[in-house]
Symmetry: C2
Subunit: 209 residues, 2 copies
DNA sequence: CTTGCGGTGTTAACGGTGTCAACACTAAGT
DNA sequence: ACTTAGTGTTGACACCGTTAACACCGCAAG
């Protein structure tokens, strides 16, 4: 194949404009799209710029480096995750935790590449990414709040809801990771069975303080 | 260079030779070393080759691509993890699960970069890496075996040990990941407290079938 | 209206990386 | 001694992250 340096007419959202209008958001959207369709290895700064119909150095006007772009993608993912969990929360009080757990697992499986990026090594150092850290923490606070409600309803024994939330989140996250890696499918029948078993164990353990 | 013809070359390292002797193992060792000292972003095929004192294309005689090298590093990590868990198993029967859990968490924290690679997206598709898959599965089998012993001792209720092992591993893995990402430090005081809380919940839940 | 200026997009380049083909050297078997 | 397979080397290609220098747009000040 010949070199790809041939001229490609840039498609602009505002035809008569040299400037893009909202490149930053467009870049995040294109990056998420690429991530979904072609996997993490294709998530390249240059590819994102090309997908946005812009020169390959343009992203540097909005992101200091590649990490910041990836972090923005991860942050958007956390927000969508929070929305999915919030929607599942309305399902009722008894199976509330169960419904949220299933929503979490479903999100992870339906958005595998995004989920991997959210917890991947590229955004590992959340100390330097305050926005990401805050978004992720709000998810944790959400779980803690749900556990608090279960405690008031007498379905969960006393104890620090924050600690229980961490343990609960960890359980789900670990389950999802092992499932995504194909490490658990041959031993345990299905992800649903694993979630069921996990929530059962968690509920028993948390009620038994 | 010098013509040194040694008497019996037993496939071991021979410094004064055009051929390396055991480049594959040396490459994995150098890669692990680089990973520990400089982090995942420095784990580059070329850098590994340079560290091994060999040309930058030499690794392709032993690994099809970069993924295979990384997978080999991950496999070595799983083996060391298994050894650490096995050593902790000898500590006694009552707190056996607890001791293994602590060994697991300690390994992850003392070998953060390695641990991240073991579960990272670069080796995600274990379906194409049978050796890695098998090594990881033996760790799971090890946990399942320990749970079986606890069942015989009456410390854990009846149920599929394989399923329980998956749930247990997932709990530990999730805890470790959140801790490594700095997502849990501000909510739960210490990783020890989290392990304690997690094992307490797990033991209660598993005993209560 | 002209002029200047800051924000944004472009071009061109640098060094580094994964990968491959062609070549070179060595060990070992015939 | 000749061949051959295995292993290391050289050189090249395309791509990537990043930066500097430049070009264009919109807008405010004069």
């Amino acid at each position: 194949m010949p070199r790809r340096t041939s001229a490609k007419p840039p498609k602009r959202k505002r035809p008569n404009s040299y400037h893009h209008g909202d490149l930053k958001a467009a870049l995040v959207a294109c990056a998420t799209d690429i991530l979904r369709k072609a996997g993490p290895s294709a998530l390249t700064l240059r590819a994102v710029a090309r997908a946005a119909g812009v020169s390959e150095a343009a992203p540097y006007r909005h992101f200091a480096d590649r990490r910041e772009l990836v972090a923005a993608v991860a942050e958007a993912g956390f927000e969508r995750l929070g929305q999915a969990m919030g929607a599942a929360m309305q399902q009722g009080s008894r199976g509330g935790l169960r419904a949220v757990a299933e929503a979490y697992v479903r999100f992870a499986h339906e958005n595998e590449a995004e989920y991997r990026v959210m917890f991947g090594p590229e955004v590992a150092n959340t100390a330097h990414l305050p926005a990401l850290r805050e978004t992720a923490r709000s998810v944790l606070a959400f779980v803690a709040q749900g556990i608090g409600k279960l405690q008031q309803a007498g379905l969960v024994g006393p104890g620090d809801p924050g600690l229980m939330a961490v343990v609960t989140w960890a359980q789900l996250h670990g389950l999802v990771m092992l499932s995504l890696d194909g490490q658990s499918t041959k031993v345990a029948p299905s992800i649903e069975a694993q979630v069921q078993e996990a929530t059962r164990i968690m509920m028993f353990g948390m009620a038994a303080r």
